[in-house]
Symmetry: C2
Subunit: 280 residues, 2 copies
């Protein structure tokens, strides 16, 4: 199988490293507007060759898009214009609704498999790629009824090869639930970093007092704005809604503390502990 | 050396396990109002014997308090009443100012070493104890000028044995900076758990969509209210102040997203990325 990876960053690079180990790969082409990333991916043995987008599309059995969601939206129509009926395109957007609405009536819609691998780290670029990033994680397949059966089978075999568990939902549900569960975590982490940088003028004190708890809650604040601004833009309505709820919850904790209502504060924390049942 | 651990939970238990491996310990007594925790600690070999508080004080060279901060405050005056000048008391509170103000004029003040080990996990109880919890972490010594030189030396040797790095500040500074760096992380995590439990009525969707990012930001929400309500109570003023700033930062991210001011959103995220320089 010849594979093109459009966007050789953390996700694209990790994908290449994993697939190389698990399925028969003839050649992996890398496409990226960032030439430093391309050279690095080649040097690290993540890709076999660099390529221009049009040639990559021409030469590949499988084309995987792992660029930020705005770029997926920009590139997808012209990629679908060019693919033949024996080729498969997978896009791995963290948001799906806008991307899929834009190509829903495309004559080659069936060649596209829309997936969102629920895996990542706060790092970016091909240097951050790791071969077991996806192991044991979920792969969300969106609007799969619009995908041709043979294209789905190829994507399913990729999901298997990555040792991921398939999950199915429509694009609208996907964007709603990822806002509620995943995107809000990034917002809180960015805001926490800004809070600490604003209040704590002494970098030394942050060094001295940051235990594992602070490090883990603020970890996602290292994430790239190039990736996250387009996600928040495309999922604005849902993100605003969950963010408003989050501000309400914080304000409530603030108010009960200010009023010295420690019984209610205790109950709120006890209530939040229920997350234990869900997250191990 | 005979050591009493008052509070055989995560911190007290981990302390006993570490010290057993690194310094000559004759006997470790465990004291706890929770008899199930005491039996468990004995069964796990964390302590050598259970004891009543008064006997433990009588029989020990070193008495370490690892109970919630409200209990430290309650117990400390009567413990100091009983200690002799060849005994040392260490209290390991996550807040310090109220605790230390209450015993500042005690005739045995010099026997007390006030420290805050910047280590912990979201778990509690002796089952959660691990022998390398403290390795490489910072131990904050508070108001050390009020401690007798020989008592400080004993505490310093404990700090060394735990492979911790000593850091010094006064109690007021300690409470201010821990609110800014550590306590706010717990508040955001509790509130994030409440937000997700409120918005996302489908537990199944949380399971499916919770990647590593969500798990790490919400991890601290598993922390016990028995420990945290007293911390927030004792550090109310500082915690409210940093929480107000945090709500402002979230509201700002909300507003720029609502106004579709993506340039500012990009700048805010880029600014938050500066936390990279401080947290590895």
């Amino acid at each position: 199988m010849k594979i093109s990876i459009i966007g050789v960053g953390l996700i694209g690079g990790s994908l290449a490293l994993s697939l190389r180990k698990t399925i028969p790969v003839n050649k992996i082409f890398g496409v990226d507007t960032n030439s430093a990333n391309l050279s690095k991916a080649l040097e690290l043995g993540i890709i076999d060759a660099t390529s221009e987008l049009d040639e990559a599309i021409e030469d590949s059995d499988l084309i995987i898009l792992t660029v930020p969601v705005n770029s997926i939206q920009d590139l997808l129509p012209s990629i679908l214009d060019k693919v033949k009926n024996n080729q498969v395109v997978m896009e791995m957007g963290s948001t799906q609704q806008e991307i899929l609405e834009a190509i829903n009536d495309h004559p080659k819609r069936g060649r596209l498999v829309a997936v969102h691998p629920m895996a990542g780290t706060e790092y970016s670029g091909p240097e951050a790629a790791i071969d077991d990033l996806f192991t044991g994680k979920n792969m969300v397949f969106c609007d799969i009824v619009r995908t041709d059966a043979d294209a789905f089978e190829i994507a399913e075999s990729i999901c298997d090869a990555l040792k991921m568990k398939p999950v199915f939902m429509n694009a609208k549900e996907h964007d709603l639930h990822t806002a509620y569960v995943s995107h809000i975590s990034h917002i809180t982490s960015f805001a926490l970093a800004l809070t600490v940088l604003e209040k704590e003028k002494s970098q030394g004190r942050i060094f001295e007092l940051a235990g594992g708890g602070f490090a883990s809650t603020v970890r996602l604040a290292k994430s790239s704005p190039d990736m996250w601004v387009p996600i928040f833009k495309q999922n604005k309505k849902n993100v605003l809604e969950v963010l408003e709820e989050h501000i309400r919850q914080l304000q409530r904790m603030h108010d009960v503390l200010e009023e010295e209502d420690y019984d209610t504060l205790f109950k709120l924390i006890k209530q939040s502990n229920k997350i234990k049942r869900i997250i191990k």
